[in-house]
Amino acid sequence: MRQRFVHDVSGLPDHDFGSDSIVWWGTLGFVAIEGMGFVLAVAVYFYLMREVPSWPPGSIAPPGLIYGSLFTGVLLVSALPNHWAKRAAERYRRRGSLLGMGGVVLLGIGLLVLRGFEFTVLHVRWDTNAYGSIVWTLLGLHTLHLGTDVADTAVLLALFLTDRDPPQRRYTDVSENADYWWFVLLAWLPIFAVVYLVPRLG
């Protein structure tokens, strides 16, 4: 078929932040999938709760609050360096991006250690009963996301450390990585409420 030239796009940028970046959409897609996974896992929790007369079942004590609360506090604090990383990246500032991501990775490692302690005060094992199974699963599922994003951020940090003058496009990765951290953060709040507070209601 014959063609006629009607419009020139050579002046367009080769990257952008937000909804004109395809990786931003890809991230959103995976957030939707994993968010749905969390929603269904929480639904399973409540479904199982209906199956037994008391919750937690039998004489099991609710999970100890200390590490979970500490975890939640540190996670909320991590929003700050995460925000800095995103803001610096959107202005193409390498130093700010490095510091922000460094902060997220350090706090992330701390969070993983705290998470380890959380598992020790659940007062139930995954193979004790269905309550134990779903509590371990909820916590495990979130840990998987946390670990993945800490690793992601560390890789991106290493990439920036080894390249003194990274291409501008790379900064969109920092920005989108920061968006994903927000997902890990926000997904935790309802899970915290379910794992730690719901057993104390009844």
Binding site: D20, W25, L40, A151
Partner: protein
């Protein structure tokens, strides 16, 4: 970099057409030989491979079905025993659903969607390559397990407690559960790539209201995958955890619930039917418009019907569970929702009929398959409305009536349009016209064979024959119908054989197709057949819903994309105004390596939970390799970068 230096690297009036094509060819081609075959990220190559693999699994699962029909042809047959028969129907159902029906729809979409969008490659092509490898590994694992007598044997939905640790020792259920994981990972990855391609890489000017119905169908389907598949991943993961690390999700004695498995499975399982069926609706719309020689009647109601079907599809799952003793009122809701979904389906059927009525239909093979679809699917829909009502469902639950119903819906609703679509897209994919005479013969055999095989099953079900029995005694009035069904099944298989033989022969003997042999209106027909690696030398610009019918003389195109680096055009989500020239990934071995590492983890986890821990190390290493840019990529990006703020200045 100065403007003059940049301009000779881009397509446009300043660059000779032959040079443009040669440079693009060089930029987009993959390495030669086996290595190139392993590292390719070309959506057309991956799509072809995906289609061929899915058809391979279709043939294998079909052979299992023929074996079952042979066994059931006569009463008290001893061709296969109960244990093998259990594996036959479980493997057949699981493989048809998870390794054929969903993947083949995604496979065709991987090939067609980017071309129909007018873009040079799919979004996230490496993710799509990964999806193919993980799908291939999962499918091979499933069938190799079957060959080693570890085939799935608890039905395609593997209900607990039968599939739980107590009643299913051994590894058969675990292979089933991990096959689910493989295929869901593959489907989720492709869906994200398809959604982003459709929302962000449509040709400039193809605003949402000008988007072809096929793209709408794939968009709705892909969103359904995102929200449905996590449910079955939870179901199969919980099942395998109950079996391997002693969790108690489905163990009634420890506070679990067997019914929970059914809820999770069907929350996915019902949308699954629509995930298979909606792409087929997209095929039908493409074929009807092309062969009726007019746009589909009622574009807007068609789009709304697709979206409504996608949403309603999530509100029906309990109708698979009417026999479990759930509260009556709840069942009433699901009956209403199930009957309601007949409305958008009906809207679409009537719109197609109106299109054909008002058009000048050309009855080529693809359109014959569409007519076959209308006939069979309406029958399947009618029995669907029947089994949506609780009293009738309780009567025919677990009988051959249900087997007849879902084969009418799935083969009529999905396989017939698929065969039509394969015939329809064959010239684009291969550059050759498929034979018309053998095509018609294939249609005749499949249509007659299908109805012979499955219509009697309605009557068998009503006269009480349960599904999943490996044999039956003589004298129950089932003998003749079963024999007829077996004859029909072999006729159907002969039809499939003729269909594919025709395509194979046409591959060598078919007449050269030319760009647009059917006179279709969508963008995939604007490029040559088969398309070059870069798909379009210049990205088309769209000004109407039927671009190739509106622009008879010449096609308007945009210029200014690089010819010496892989670039795709990103456009605004709703209006499709050009926004970004996005670099597109180069070939890489990492998707294959990551898929192999993931396969190791999945299969290892069946044998020891520690595989999940140690298996993450190779997965992490390969993923880092995947994302770490090579020096060459870094340099390339650096040399040509162009920040958003400079856009206005440059333009």
């Amino acid at each position: 970099m100065s403007a003059s230096e940049a301009s000779d690297l881009r397509d446009g009036p300043a660059l000779d057409e032959a040079v443009t094509r040669a440079r693009l060819e060089h930029t987009w081609r993959r390495p030669e030989g086996l290595w190139g075959w392993l590292v390719t990220v070309d959506h057309k190559e991956i799509g072809r491979r995906y289609i061929a693999t899915a058809l391979g699994f279709f043939a294998l699962s079909g052979l299992l079905a023929l074996t079952m029909r042979l066994q059931l042809a006569l009463p008290e047959s001893h061709l296969v025993g109960p244990d093998l028969y259990g594996q036959l129907f479980s493997m057949h159902g699981s493989a048809m659903m998870f390794l054929f029906a969903v993947p083949v729809m995604e496979a065709v979409a991987i090939y067609v969607v980017p071309l129909m969008c007018g873009t040079r490659n799919i979004a996230f092509p490496r993710l799509v390559a990964f999806s193919y490898w993980i799908y291939l590994c999962g499918g091979l694992f499933f069938f190799i397990s079957f060959a080693g007598n570890t085939g799935a044997d608890r039905g395609w939905f593997a209900y607990v407690p039968l599939s739980g640790p107590e009643y299913s020792p051994g590894k058969r259920v675990d292979t089933w559960a991990q096959m689910i994981t493989f295929t869901e990972v593959a489907a989720l990855a492709v869906s994200v790539a398809l959604i982003v391609t459709i929302l962000k890489q449509r040709a400039p000017g193809m605003s949402l209201d000008r988007m072809p119905l096929y793209l709408w169908a794939i968009l709705v389907t892909s969103f359904m995958v995102l929200f449905a598949m996590p449910a079955v991943m939870l179901a199969s993961s919980f099942l395998i955890m109950d079996r391997l690390i002693d969790t108690h999700f489905f163990n009634q004695a420890e506070g679990g619930s067997a019914l929970l498995f059914q809820h999770l499975f069907w929350f996915f399982g019902h949308p699954e039917v629509y995930i298979i069926f909606i792409p087929a609706l997209g095929f039908v719309s493409s074929i009807v418009a092309t062969f009726a020689r007019r746009p589909v009647f009622g574009h807007l109601p068609m789009v709304l019907a697709l979206i409504a079907t996608g949403i309603l599809g999530f509100g029906l799952w309990v109708h698979h569970m009417f026999a479990t003793g759930l509260p009556r009122l709840g069942n009433g809701f699901f009956t209403a929702a199930s009957i309601m979904i007949a409305i958008p389906s009906g809207v679409q059927i009537f719109c197609w009929l109106a299109t054909l009525w008002d058009g000048r239909p050309v009855f080529k093979t693809p359109l014959l398959y569409v007519l076959g679809f209308v006939f069979i699917f309406v029958l399947g829909g009618l029995t669907g409305v029947m089994v949506a009502s609780v009293p009738l469902d309780l009567q025919v639950h677990d009988t051959y009536f249900v087997v007849a119903h879902f084969h009418y819906v799935l083969i009529g609703g999905a396989v017939f349009p698929l065969l039509g679509a394969l015939h329809y897209h064959f010239p684009k994919i291969t550059g050759r016209m498929p034979g018309e005479r053998l095509g018609r013969l294939g249609f005749l055999l499949t249509f007659v064979g299908f109805n012979l095989a499955f219509f009697p099953m309605h009557i068998l079900g009503l006269s009480g024959m349960p599904r999943r029995v490996y044999t039956y005694p003589s004298g129950l009035g089932w003998d003749g119908m079963n024999l007829l069904a077996t004859i029909g099944a072999f006729t159907l298989a002969a039809g499939f054989l003729v269909f594919f033989l025709n395509l194979l022969l046409s591959l060598r003997r078919g007449a050269p197709a030319g760009d647009n042999p059917w006179g279709a209106s969508t963008l995939e027909w604007a490029t040559s057949s088969p398309p070059p690696v870069h798909a379009f030398a210049h990205v088309p610009l769209v000004r109407s819903r039927e671009p190739l019918w509106e622009e008879r003389e010449s096609l308007p195109v945009v210029t200014g994309l690089r010819v010496d680096a892989r670039e795709v055009l990103v456009t605004a989500t709703v209006t499709a105004e050009p926004r970004v020239r996005e670099p597109s990934p180069e070939p890489a071995i990492w998707p294959l390596l990551t898929a192999l590492a993931t396969t190791g983890l999945f299969i290892g986890s069946i044998y020891t939970p520690w595989a999940v821990v140690w298996g993450t190390v190779p997965v992490a290493v390969t993923l880092i390799g995947w994302f770490w840019p090579t020096k060459r990529e870094q340099r390339k990006e650096k040399a040509t970068e162009h920040a958003p703020g400079l856009a206005e200045a440059g333009a």
